[in-house]
Amino acid sequence: MLRWASHSLIFLLAAPILLGTLIASLPAFGYFPPLGSSEFSLEAWRDLFEVPGLTRSVLVSLISGILTPLISLALVFLYLASATESKLDLWIRRLVSPLLSFPHAAAAFGLAFLIAPSGLLSRIISPELTGWERPPDILIVNDTWGLFLLFGLIVKEVPFLLLMSLAALPQLQPRHRIEVARTLGYRATIAWLKVIAPSLYPLVRLPVIAVIVFASATVDVALILGPALPPTLSVRVLSWFNDPDLNLRFLAAAGSLLQLGVSLLAVAIWLVLEKFFSLLWQFWLSTGNRETGESLAFALGRSAMPIVLLVIAGSLLALLINAFAGPWRYPSALPSSWTIQHWANSLSDLSIPFFNTVLISVSSTLLALIVVVATLESERQSGKGRSTAMWLLYLPLLIPQLVFLFGIIVLTEFAGWQANLSLVIVGHLLFVLPYVFLSLYEAYRQLDPRWTQVASTLGASPLKSFWQIRIPLLLAPCLTSVAIGMAISISLFLPTQLLGAGRITTITTEAVALTSGASRNLISVWAIVQLSLPIVGFMMALFIPKFVWRNRSGMMDTR
């Protein structure tokens, strides 16, 4: 039973994703019986390459796919190189995981409302600094080259890469290494970049590649912040897919394969960049230079992270003001009056998506938790480490969502299944599983094996010691991974949109749908609801163990 669970984890993740990717390619070559086409042809590809502005769409996707990880990783490494044990740094480290739980869509809306020509920032500095009495007629958000999209992605990915780096750092014993380098005359920042960075990079390589794939293929962030004429490749593929003209399905299939190609190309370019940087580092290390560039690296590192945090805080503020704003004439920094009218208006529309969001995130996360705990438990009992390749867990993050989800849709259409709630839940499970596994793996592995040994010398069966000893001892980490899983599920746009065929609405799909045409006030209300849900989850993960174990002082340090 347990062994079965262990294999099922891999099966659950790998099969739909690989199969989906494979099947997505069939309609691209003209084979799609549900639409009455069972002959292979290259027509879809001919159509695809005649689409106007395709080169621009591909380029924008490619550029954000490469520059997002490059700039984000540079900022994170420079920050870590210049980090000290100061209050600010401790504070930043504590903020990282809550920041990570901000849904992409809500963060993107906030950013847009902060920086748009008529946004909060421009209002604060106008008219005193700029002389603007009306919003300037410049395209900042949705600029044609996707620079603002790039900016938004960097703000969102920096906390992710920072968290991954912080998790990997302790095993490198950075303090010790830095001390050695400093006794050899290296300044602290340079020492970090020379002796820590080269060993840290391999440890965060998979997350970096996940960032490349996400940035080159994102749909929801690109819909909100990306260029409009033409949009990024991923957004265009989705619009072809949703087009009432079913013949565009073939075009969408070819487009999704092209998307896979673009993401893979971005990864390939990254691998070349890796080689380049590795040579550069080797040269830099061999120069024996100990001080040059220290102040620049230090200044960049010290300022980057507070700026990212300020931008995120500003985005949140912009959402809050917009959600409660009454009439708000342009150059005024604040609305002339406040109102809860936007909330009152949205209340009835919110209820069904809210219910769906909670239902989908709770069920997919609990399913994931059961599979993950069963896997970890079977590994513990069999006494074997992870034999199955860990990288399979990253599969849902390494293949563009659009591609394999598209294949899964094709599969369900072959099978004649209707889009329904359970399909959406299974789709969410694919994305929730890796995060629940990665967050619980360490805690489970680090639990002192003697607890189980004591229990068994006292005559407790494996089942009894599982339920009465290990689960209670791991309550806190389990709840944290549930909160993370729910945050991931809540933020998902594409799986809900595609697998639910647009009929199953969540807070996220509705919020993204508001992009075209709804007022900022209304969008802000939805974005705030969207980002409050994960916060509620994290609060519960924090306070439930505190309450349950309020009379158990020993439960504070077994985590």
Partner: protein, 209 residues
């Protein structure tokens, strides 16, 4: 009174083809056999082997008999071998009584009464609902001993259970543990590198190399 006998017949444990230890002995009711040896001599592996959780990487041969029955094929929880570790390892999420109740056989009669009596017996009367995290080192060791006894084992293993206590306390706990085990008639194997432990145990001493 238990009156059990624990026998190790030609037990040999090796790791990666290299033999760690070899032992053959008989421990009668209420007797305490002391096994001494430097760290790395395989003392802990011996206890893990008898208790039933030797890591699969180790190879072992020989047999462990309790009252003449070979227990080697039984799962750890079926062997009825009690084990005291260096740390008391009271489950931090259960109360003192909860820890004791966890150990008692399912069909035991009058559990709450037995728990109160047991606590009274080790000088901790009224500690039933205490949080184990609030106990002193000596109190926790006593509860761990009581937990082991309430489980009604057939034999007991002691893995340097006094090494983390300060001298005076370890003296006191050692006396209590040895007295209780002798009084219960349990065959006991003590693993230690402390001469004082071996002397007070008063039984046969084996030294591993």
């Amino acid at each position: 009174m238990s009156n059990s006998v624990l026998e190790l017949n030609d037990v040999s444990i090796s790791l990666g083809g290299k033999q760690l230890l070899e032992i053959d002995c008989r421990v009668g009711p209420g007797e305490i056999l002391t096994v001494m040896g430097p760290s790395g001599s395989g003392k802990s592996s011996l206890l893990a082997y008898i208790a039933g959780f030797l890591a699969p990487a180790f190879e072992s041969s020989g047999s462990v008999l309790v009252n003449g029955d070979d227990i080697c094929s039984l799962a750890a929880e079926r062997r009825r071998i009690g084990l005291l570790f260096q740390d008391p390892l009271l489950f931090p999420h259960l109360s003192v009584a909860g820890n004791l109740r966890f150990a008692m056989p399912r069909n035991a009669q009058h559990k709450s009464q037995a728990i109160s009596d047991g606590l009274n017996d080790i000088g901790l009367a009224g500690f039933d609902n205490r949080d184990p995290g609030t106990l002193s080192g000596g109190q926790a060791s006593r509860v761990a001993l009581l937990r082991l006894l309430l489980c009604a084992p057939n034999a007991v293993l002691l893995d340097e259970p006094f090494s983390k206590l300060d001298t005076q306390l370890s003296e006191e706990i050692r006396t209590l543990v040895f007295d209780k085990l002798r009084a219960s008639g349990l065959p006991t194997i003590l693993v230690t590198h402390d001469k004082a432990d071996a002397e007070q145990a008063g039984g046969e001493i084996r030294t591993l190399l």
